[in-house]
Symmetry: C2
């Protein structure tokens, strides 16, 4: 049964920063929205609120579209269990979304958009949070992922001919080492340069920070040579800007 107050929530992948990474579908959906939600994380620039405001300023031509900013709840670090901490946090975010929607579109139907950095499918919780909202139909507009932008900037492929690749996190690489059966890794969410713990022999790294933005930094070469340079460059960039978002691809020369 379709509820009379059914709302449509569209998660729009916006790519990794450059306005020209938006797809035509993303531009269309931004302009089809009655309300665009923009999260704020206190004074942190890592919330990318400025980027989202800039996208709205540049591509939003529908004068009826409202913009609703809201403060993102913080995780309760007192909750010991990681899974429970994340679940509680997602509950809290869903509640703030609901409140902000109700505030701007009281009682009625409507189309709400969230601008998701990269693609909503990749290391992003918006889909899981959206499922908590009652009477809301969720749709996804795919966006460029940072791994596409990284490989394009370096002019490399994700896979070797007919070969697989694994997309993983810094924590996994640190805890489990190089996984079996695969020679190419894409590593995300790595705040600690976990590649430094690998035996670098035969490994090449293609690293990028702020990929696709005007402040993009790219470094590539044999892991052995690049490790100190990347650690130093990353620390400096992070200190200067107050935040960093980076990603890298590692390829091991096949030992076969």
């Amino acid at each position: 049964m379709t509820s009379p107050s059914l709302k449509r929530l569209v998660l729009i992948g916006i790519g990794t920063g450059g306005l020209d990474q938006l797809t035509l579908a993303a531009v269309r959906e931004i302009n089809a929205a009655d309300l665009i939600l923009i999260p704020r994380k206190g004074a942190s620039k890592a919330d990318l609120a400025d980027l989202r405001r800039e996208i709205c300023a540049q591509v939003l031509t529908n004068p009826a579209t409202l913009i609703g900013e809201f403060d993102l709840p913080v995780r309760n670090e007192a909750t010991h269990d990681y899974r429970e901490r994340v679940e509680d946090w997602h509950d809290a975010i869903a509640q703030v979304w609901t409140q902000t929607i109700e505030e701007h579109l009281p009682g009625g139907k409507g189309q709400i958009a969230l601008l998701i950095w990269g693609d909503p499918a990749l290391y992003d919780s918006s889909l899981r949070i959206a499922r908590r909202l009652p009477d809301v139909a969720v749709e996804v507009v795919p966006g460029l992922m940072s791994m596409n932008v990284l490989t394009a900037a370096h002019g490399i492929t994700l896979n070797e001919v007919g070969e697989p690749f694994l997309v993983t996190t810094g924590r996994r690489l640190r805890d489990d080492g190089w996984p079996q059966g695969v020679d190419t890794l894409v590593v995300m969410l790595d705040g600690e340069c976990s590649f430094r713990h690998l035996d670098p022999a035969g490994i090449t790294i293609w690293w990028g920070a702020y990929v696709g933005m005007s402040s993009q930094i790219l470094l590539a070469g044999p892991l052995q040579d690049m490790t100190p340079t990347i650690i130093e460059t990353r620390a400096k960039a992070r200190a200067e800007r107050g935040w960093i978002m980076d990603i890298y691809l590692l390829r091991r020369h096949s030992t076969g």
Copy 2:
């Protein structure tokens, strides 16, 4: 030393079919081209030449841009070694590109564009072929990949929270089985429904054919139940259209 006849070759990711999957950067680069190369594969519709012509018809507004169609060489199946066969084929394609460019932009400089289905980084040989051309600077404009479009259409994520996923081929899945240490697989280039060889217990499949096109077909559910339906649907669609392009995501319930 920069050659006076240096050409710029731009590989433009166009996503998986829908015009609205084009990024603003892709539209800009299409219009910045002096020449757009369009490959033809005989009478096969799998060459997507019509899709590329349609994109040019819809978004190309620069009257000076030339369109150069060419016949894609065929692989010499008499060459026994797979690697050698592919290398020879790529050499032959590079030669045809060079001839077609010379024909339309004789002797001079210029900007050449190739419209790449999906993203040039993923299971595509254009970057490897482009590297064979002398006096050509290669650039990449990233595009949506079929795995983004698949997950968006199904409203699912690629990864579970903090977990890795592997992108692989049908042949690998068939030959090696389910790989160790990962519960999510994205499988491409699978002409033989290789999922049928897995023990289906605890596995869910999200399958899509022609994802992002108007003829898109989506099926999802427990692998055990879906296997015959997908095999039948795929065979029927392929027979009707003469070609098929499909992709799927498999997720195993964590046994932990």
